[in-house]
Amino acid sequence: MNDENNISDYLKDSPEKQFRSLNPFTLPEDYFSGFNWNLMDKISDEGHIPDILQEISKRTPYSLPDGYFDDAGLKIQASISPKSERPVRSLKHSWRHLAAAAATLGIIVLAAVLFYSYHNKAGDFALQKIENVSTERLNGFLGNPDSVQNGQPVLSITKSDSKPVDFSQLFKKISDRDLKSFLDETGGNDDDFLMN
């Protein structure tokens, strides 16, 4: 009677419960769904690697620059040290760079000023000396054979009080050497200036 009751209770249970009561063992969750693949894996590991692949070396045949791997490590180290990875630079360092830039700029400006004023001074001094030379001598110099082109004097000069003579324009075509030797002859031996 008892057995009869048990069987009838059993039949009232859901198929899943019936299955569980007959197979109480636990299984990995995806055992059956993965079974085929696991089986295929075993087969492929043992026999499904094509025979022809067994004949081939697994070494990759590509060419590689000499010493590439030695350099690669260094390149990678360098590439991971950008400014963004470093702590923010302190104000002290910024001022140091700024001061160096300002000093360099100052030196350049000073050199340019000195160069410019020195050459202007030399030019002014030469013009001052020319002012003291007589018109006749200047015309003589400008009309001398060295300053003649195509039989005509390159330049001539007439000094008057109404219109000042622009000597810098007038002597443009005369070489520095000729002008210097002319001034040396007429205005003494002052070699302190340069004609440029």
């Binding site: 993965g34 693949w37 690697i49 094509p50 990759t60 045949p61 060419s63 590439y68 690669a72 180290q77």
Partner: protein
């Protein structure tokens, strides 16, 4: 750190300390650069591209290693980054090739043939050409399985694909390669 080789776990803890971070990273680079390079090179083929991808990989490692949760091995994580970098590179390549009416497969095929050591009579080279004829996922799976002998479980962590799919991919890839090597 001395001259004793240290394990990946120890390198990771050294990396997390500011004082030893750079030295630990240098060791990680030294340990894995060659393996990762060849994995990358087999996928992108051209040395200059492989060099770029390798550097990008390690830059990402440098930036992300502090957040690495160690759910997988360091090696697996590195391969994952490298593989993703390769796929990004190939995607860019595909877009530029599409624009110039050329396909990626023939482009990489040509690049293989342009290698100074290329020898059409050698099976090693024929295998590389066969691999390039595969669809992208099969190519990655075949390379990881065949050359790196990586277990499917690790491949699954790298590619975020079920082991079943990976096994199917490898199976199809191996068949196609066999066919290529025997019939072309």
């Amino acid at each position: 750190m001395g001259n004793q080789p240290v394990g990946d776990d120890e390198l990771l803890s050294l990396f997390r300390s500011e004082a030893t971070k750079e030295r630990a990273f240098a060791q990680i680079v030294d340990r894995y650069k060659e393996k990762l390079y060849w994995h990358i090179r087999r996928l992108v083929v051209v040395h200059e591209d492989a060099d770029d991808v390798l550097q990008n990989t390690f830059i990402k490692v440098w930036k992300g290693l502090n957040t690495f949760r160690e759910d997988s091995r360091l090696f697996t994580w590195l391969y994952r980054i490298a593989t993703n970098e390769c796929l990004t590179h190939l995607e860019k390549l595909k877009r530029s090739r599409t624009a110039s009416l050329n396909n990626e497969e023939s482009y990489l095929d040509n690049k293989i043939r342009a290698d100074e050591y290329f020898d059409a009579g050698k099976l090693e080279w024929k295998l590389q050409l066969a691999i390039q004829s595969l669809p992208e996922q099969q190519r990655v799976v075949f390379n990881l399985r065949y050359f790196d002998e990586m277990p499917y479980k690790e491949m699954s962590q790298i590619l975020k694909v079920t082991e079943g799919s990976l096994k199917a991919s490898y199976h199809h890839a191996a068949k196609k390669i066999e066919d290529y090597l025997l019939n072309r």
